[in-house]
C-alpha cells in the first residue's frame, strides 16, 4: 500500500507532462511544431511541407539509413506515419496499428485487428494511415468500421460500424480530424453503393452528421441521375480531406459514379461524383461543390487530397485549392467560394478541349462500341497519391504518369482495352500501366507554378509511380516510384540530389520529423518503412 501511495505522489508531480495531448489546436497549427507530423499530410492544408531545415539541397547527398521496420504483411504499404513527440504511429495493412520508437524503429505495441471476411475492397487490402486527437488514434478498416485506439497502450476504445461491409463498403483512407469530430468516407464506389461522408464524435464514436454524396429524392442534384440509378451510383470518398478554419469548411474529393465505364443507365451529370465538396464542418451542410468530370464514363475518381494554399493570383492574395486530378487536368479553385479559376492539362489529355465560363469541361472523347483512345487512361494522370506545396519556392509538386487506353462499350458490358490488356488496375499483383506505344507510359515528378499551372521542371522515371511527394524547408522534394527508388530532388530545379534503393515499390507519400534535434525522413516502400537522417 505504501508503494502505491508513493506512485500516486509521483503521478501527481508529473501530471502536466503526461497531459501533453494532441489538441485540435496543435493539429491545426502542425507547422508550429515541425518535429511532429500530426495529420496525414502534415497539416490540414495538406501541403505535405516540412518546415525542418537540417536536411538541405546541399547536404541531402549524405543521408544515411537509420532503421527499417518490416511490416508483417504482404499488402501494399500506402500509409503515411504520424509522429507525436518521438513516437511514430503507422498501419500494417490491412488494419494493424503499430507504435514505434521514431529514433530506432523498435516497436512499442501493436493493435491487431482482423477485418471481417466480407471486407473486400476492390483494389487492395490497404490503409493510408491513422489520425490522432488527444490520446486517441483513429483508423478506418477495410470492413468499413472506424476504431478508436488508446495511443499509449494500443487498447481499443470504441469500434463503430460506418457502413456494411457486406454491401461492398470499405475504408482505406486516413480519417480527418476537425475540432471534436472524426470525419471519414468509404470506398466501394466501383460497386453499387451509395457513398457518403460522416462525422463521428471523437469521444463516443456516435455519428454526428452525414452527407450523402448522391442526393436523395427532393434534394438538389437528385435529377442528375436517371431512374433509380442514384440508389447504386457509387461515389465513394476514399482519401483524406482538408480544412479551412476561417471558412469552417471541410473539403473532400469524391469518386467515380457506378458502373464505372457505362453511363447509359445513369443519364445526367451524376452529382456529386468526381467532385470536390465544401461542407460546413459542424453540420455537414453543402456550401459549394465543383464537378471535375460530369457524367464520368472513364473512371476519373477525384479522391486526391485537396491541397490548400494562399498564393498571389492575378496580382492579389487569394485562398486557393490546387488539384492535380485523375482526369489529367490541374485546377485552381477559390476555396471560399468554389469559383473556378483555371484548369489546364498536366499530362497528355484528350478527353476535353476546353471549359465554359463556369469551368464546366467540354468533353470530346466518349466510350464507343468500336473503342476510343483516351488520354489519360483509367489509372489517371495521378491516382490517389498525395501532392506537395512549398511556401518557400511557391511551387506545386506532383508525381504523375503518362498513359492512355482504349475504352470500348460493347453490348451490356463495357470493356477496357489496351495493348497489354490488363483488366485489374489497382490490386497488388496487377499493378501495371496501360500503354499504346513505346513512348508511354512513364512516371514523372513535376513542379508547377500555381498562378499559371505551367510546368517549371520535371524528373522523369523509366517506370510509373504511385508515390506521393514531400517538400521540406531545406528545399528538397522527396518522391519515388515503382522501380524501388526513394529520390531526393532539388525543389527549385528538379535535379536529382540523392537516391536510395529500397527494394520495393514506393506506394506512399514521405514525411519528415525530428527527435532530439535530428531530422528524419520516412518512407514506406515494398512491405517496410525506412527512416533516413544525416550522419
Amino acid at each position: 500500500m505504501r508503494h502505491a501511495l508513493r506512485l500516486v505522489v509521483v503521478l501527481a508531480l508529473v501530471a502536466p507532462l503526461a497531459a501533453q495531448q494532441v489538441t485540435f489546436e496543435r493539429i491545426l497549427h502542425g507547422d508550429r511544431e515541425p518535429q511532429n507530423w500530426l495529420s496525414y499530410s502534415g497539416t490540414l492544408m495538406n501541403q505535405r511541407f516540412s518546415p525542418l531545415t537540417q536536411i538541405t539541397a546541399a547536404n541531402v547527398k549524405n543521408l544515411q539509413q537509420q532503421w527499417v521496420w518490416q511490416a508483417r504483411s504482404l499488402e501494399k504499404f500506402e500509409a503515411t506515419p504520424l509522429v507525436v513527440d518521438g513516437v511514430m504511429y503507422t498501419v500494417q495493412a490491412p488494419n494493424d496499428v503499430v507504435a514505434l520508437d521514431a529514433v530506432s524503429g523498435r516497436v512499442f505495441w501493436t493493435y491487431a485487428y482482423t477485418p471481417a471476411p466480407e471486407g473486400r475492397p476492390c483494389c487492395g487490402r490497404v490503409n493510408r494511415g491513422v489520425a490522432i486527437l488527444g490520446d486517441t488514434l483513429y483508423m478506418g478498416t477495410i470492413d468499413a468500421r472506424l476504431i478508436a485506439i488508446d495511443a499509449k497502450s494500443g487498447k481499443p476504445l470504441w469500434n463503430t460500424v460506418v457502413a456494411k461491409a457486406s454491401d461492398r463498403y470499405s475504408i482505406t483512407s486516413s480519417p480527418t480530424i476537425v475540432k471534436d469530430k472524426v470525419i471519414i468516407g468509404t470506398g466501394g464506389g466501383d460497386g453499387p453503393i451509395r457513398g457518403f461522408i460522416s462525422a463521428f464524435d471523437a469521444k463516443t464514436g456516435k455519428e454526428v452528421w452525414r452527407f450523402n454524396t448522391i442526393p436523395g429524392p427532393g434534394e438538389p442534384g437528385h435529377d442528375t441521375w436517371s431512374g433509380d440509378s442514384w440508389k447504386t451510383g457509387g461515389v465513394g470518398v476514399w482519401n483524406a480531406g482538408a480544412y479551412d478554419p476561417e471558412a469552417n469548411l471541410v473539403y473532400f474529393g469524391t469518386g467515380n459514379p457506378a458502373p464505372d465505364w457505362d453511363g447509359r443507365n445513369r443519364l445526367g451529370d451524376n452529382l456529386y461524383s468526381d467532385s470536390v465538396l465544401a461542407l460546413d464542418a459542424d453540420t455537414g451542410a453543402l456550401k459549394w461543390h465543383y464537378q471535375f468530370t460530369p457524367h464520368d464514363e472513364l473512371d476519373y475518381d477525384s479522391t486526391q487530397v485537396p491541397l490548400l494554399a494562399d498564393v498571389q493570383w492575378q496580382g492579389r492574395p487569394r485562398k486557393v485549392m490546387l488539384w492535380a486530378n485523375r482526369n489529367g487536368v490541374m485546377y485552381a479553385l477559390d476555396r471560399v467560394t468554389g469559383e473556378f479559376l483555371k484548369g489546364k492539362p498536366f499530362v497528355k489529355t484528350n478527353w476535353l478541349d476546353g471549359f465554359d465560363a463556369k469551368g464546366r469541361p467540354h468533353q470530346v472523347k466518349f466510350p464507343s462500341p468500336e473503342g476510343t483512345l483516351v488520354h489519360p487512361h483509367v489509372h489517371g494522370g495521378i491516382n490517389w497519391a498525395p501532392p506537395a506545396f512549398s511556401p518557400r519556392t511557391g511551387l506545386f509538386y506532383v508525381a504523375s504518369w503518362e498513359n492512355s487506353g482504349i475504352i470500348a462499350v460493347t453490348g451490356q458490358f463495357p470493356r477496357v482495352m489496351s495493348s497489354n490488356a490488363q483488366q485489374t488496375a489497382m490490386g497488388q499483383t496487377n499493378l501495371v500501366p496501360f500503354y499504346n506505344d513505346d513512348t508511354e507510359p512513364f512516371g514523372v515528378v513535376r513542379a508547377y507554378d500555381p498562378q499559371t499551372l505551367d510546368k517549371v521542371w520535371e524528373f522523369k522515371m523509366s517506370d510509373i509511380t504511385w508515390g506521393g511527394t514531400l517538400v521540406t524547408a531545406g528545399d528538397v522534394v522527396f518522391s519515388g516510384g515503382r522501380e524501388g527508388y526513394f529520390l531526393a530532388l532539388d525543389a527549385k530545379t528538379g535535379k536529382l540530389l540523392w537516391r536510395a534503393s529500397v527494394g520495393g515499390q514506393v506506394n506512399a507519400g514521405a514525411m519528415s520529423y525530428s527527435v532530439n534535434g535530428k531530422q528524419y525522413v520516412a518512407i514506406a516502400a515494398g512491405n517496410a518503412l525506412f527512416a533516413y537522417a544525416l550522419p
Binding site: H3, L7, V10, L11, F108, T110
Partner: protein, 254 residues
Amino acid sequence: MKFTRRLAAALLATGLGFFAPRTAAAQHETAADLLDGERAFKNTCANCHGPDGDVIPGIDLGRGRFRRPMTDDDLVRIIRTGIPNTPMPASQMTVEQAQKIVAYLRSRAATARGSVAAGDPLRGKAVFDKGTCASCHRVGGAGSRVGPDLTDVGSRRSARELELALTDPAADVAPGNRTYRVVLKDGTTVTGRLLGHDTFSVQLLDTTEQLRSFAKADLRELGFVATPMPSYRTSMTPQEMADVVSYLASLRGQ
C-alpha cells in the same frame, strides 16, 4: 513461484496436466510475441479448440489442462507434428511460431480455477474506487495505463486468479505486464511496464505514461524489478476481498 509449483504438483497428483514452471528463457517473451501467438492460435488452433481453447472435452488450453501432463517442448512438438490417429493435424509452423502459441497459452493459463467467497460487485466497485487502484490500473478509459488494463479482466481471468493477483501479486505476472527499471548514465531512473527489448534497446511505458525507448549503451543499469502492486492479503477484510474480486470478475469489456 513456490505457490505455482505447489499448485502444479497438487494438480498433477489429481490427474490434471499442467504447464511446466516458467523457465528463464521465457523472460524473453514480449507482448509482441504473445500477440503473434494469440493471432496464430486464433487463426489455426481455434477452429477446432474454440476461441478459449476449451471446446474439446478433457482439454482446456486456456487453463493448461490436457489429457496427460505436457511440457512446453511436448506442446511445441504436437503443434508441429500433430497427434497420429486423432483429428489433431500436423502444421507447417516453425519451432519459433509454435513456441509463441505456447507462450500465449501459458500467459492465459496462469493458475487453475478454484472457489472463492461470494462477493458483491457493487460494494467491490466502491472499494476499488475509494482505494488507489486507479493510480495504476485503467477501467473503461479512466485510470492509469501503467499497470494492467482491467477493462475486460473478467473475461480473461477466473475469480481464483483475480484473488491470487490481490493476495500474492508477484506470484504470476503476465509477460506483458512486467515492471522494468533503467538507470541512465546521468543517474536518471526510469521505471515502467516492459513493452519490448532486444540486444541494443529497451522499450517501456513509463510511470508517467510516456512511451520510451532507450539504447542499452546509454544505460548504467537495467533489469526487472518487483511488481509495484502491493498485496492486499492483510489490508483488506475477507469480505472486501470477495467484493473486489466479484467486481473485477464482472468487468467484461465495453
